[in-house]
């Protein structure tokens, strides 16, 4: 026993600090510092070979006045809204089924795992795996022709905006299922019984009891979907065959041209956009309460 008479609450706080020191160091060096660096470099200047300290606003001026930027943001927002609609619809339905219609806990856990396992596999492989399905001579086209629904193969299945949204929904629907399922499992079943006793129809129970109580889960899922789609560059590039643009692709193109200050400025604008969206969504949910 140490004989120093420190106030126990101070000692507890010191232990807490000690415990989070490594974590703070990692996030400080690999998250906070990189963001600060991006903000700094976004004011730097560059030429064909290198970039160097300076204070210019040209990177922002160019990025914000370019018509391409605005069109790309519009396009990215379109991807985001479509993906969000489908993910929310699918995520809610699947979570609702798991939480309220599957009655044994082991079955719930098993089916929930079935939904989450793809999350732990490679996104790139999951993207590639759509090629044989959607291609010109792919399964979708040949079965549609076989069934006599179409005569010519559909060209817009692969390497199109359709394919991009499809891949996004495929990759990110899980991010909706998991938090919505989590909040639904906490809904007190007696509330639903009470609603039923009071004469509510199944649909009324859904809209007046379950949806309001599942809102935090929907919000957390939405935060994931919004940030993942807004920052994406690889899904859009891969599934559109390089034809569609997204904000992430602007940044990744600037990086590959070694125009780091330009990429940094674009990144800052993207970051502000994402944080603004999340800020609005966070007003509807207290994440600390949802854990």
């Amino acid at each position: 026993m140490t004989k120093t008479k420190t106030d126990p609450s101070k000692r507890a706080e010191r232990i807490s600090w000690l415990l989070v020191t490594p974590l703070t160091c990692v996030l400080g060096f690999f998250l906070l510092l990189p963001i600060l660096t991006i903000v700094t470099v976004s004011f730097w200047n560059y030429n064909e070979w290198s970039f160097f300290p300076d204070f210019v606003l040209d990177n922002y001026a160019f990025h914000l006045t370019s018509a391409v930027t605005w069109a790309t943001y519009l396009k990215t927002l379109k991807f985001m809204v479509l993906t969000w609609i489908f993910c929310a619809g699918i995520g809610f339905t699947v979570a609702y089924f798991l939480a309220f219609h599957v009655q044994s806990l082991p079955a719930q856990v098993a089916l929930f795992l079935v939904c989450t396992i793809p999350f732990w596999t490679s996104n790139i492989i999951r993207m590639i795996s759509w090629i044989p399905f959607l291609g010109r001579n792919g399964i979708a086209n040949s079965s549609l022709i076989h069934l006599g629904i179409i005569d010519e193969p559909l060209e817009w299945l692969l390497y199109s905006d359709f394919a991009v949204v499809l891949a996004f929904v495929h990759l990110y629907a899980l991010f909706m299922v998991v938090p919505i399922f989590n909040t639904m499992m906490r809904i007190d079943k007696s509330l639903i019984e009470a609603a039923r006793d009071a004469g509510a129809s199944g649909f009324q129970i859904l809209t007046n009891v379950i949806i309001p109580l599942a809102k935090p889960g929907i919000m957390i899922g939405s935060i994931f979907v919004v940030t993942l789609v807004m920052g994406d560059f690889i899904t859009v590039r891969h599934m559109s065959g390089g034809q569609s643009a997204s904000v992430g692709r602007i940044i990744s193109n600037e990086i590959s041209l070694l125009q780091y200050p330009a990429a940094a400025a674009s990144s800052v604008v993207l970051l502000c956009t994402v944080l603004l969206m999340i800020g609005v969504m966070m007003r509807f949910v207290d994440i600390r309460k949802e854990l």
Binding site: S16, V26, F29, T37, I117, T121, S122, I234, G248, V274
Partner: protein, 279 residues
Amino acid sequence: MEPRSRSFYLLAAFFTLFVIFLYGPVITIGILSFQGPRGGLTFPMNGVSLHWFFDLFEQQAVGDIWGSFRRSFALGLMVMSVTVVLSVMGGLAFRRRFRGSTVLFYLIIASLIIPSILVSLGVGLIFNILDLEVHWATSGFGSQLTWTLPFGLLIMFAVFNRFDKSYEEAARDLGASPWQTVRHVVLPIIAPMLIGVALFGFTLSYDEFARTLLTAGSYNTLPLEIFGMTTNVTSPVLYALGTLTTVFSFAIIGTFLLVVVILRRRRTKSGSDAGSGLV
């Protein structure tokens, strides 16, 4: 129990479709990777063979698949260990409020929502400015931690929110030191959840692409290698690789889940009530 309603069957059908949607494409490339030597990227199957798998083991025209697999595996293990340790430490610390805890909490959330490409770019820039060489085991390792740590920490926060503190009080009453309490009471109770954190740590690292893009340096990790292949390989060898890594991922996930099951079973067998502290 209520009788199954019509909506049950409708929703069950929807769920089945969703599962087909999730797994169908991967199963398709699984089948197509057994294409005959003259087969193409889509159906029909032109014979059945292991040709493309053998092809993988031969010297590739592009890249170094096995080297990148070894690197990804090593990196996955590194990220996994650090994620588990730091998440437990963070979880323990966050059970009390301390000065700075709110800021740190939002930093953790920020780590989750800041687009991956920004982390990649920022870390790449830092190393560039400091004239350090980016390497998968240094800059790549750190960048991946910013993705795995929030998941690990959020799981631990959830675990400790449901943790019954009377177990610790009992240990303390019996004269256990704080360290003994953590070592012999808290850790055994949360062990199954730690397996979950480890699973997240390993798989998220093993599959991470965007955060390693600018931070891996001259030696690629497997996802970078695969992405490189998508642009210049147009034979089923790509599917064979995809099938192999997916099978590997499934094996890893299966192993982790098996460990959880074994831990649970051993507990019920030895009559310990550890774990029932988690409601």
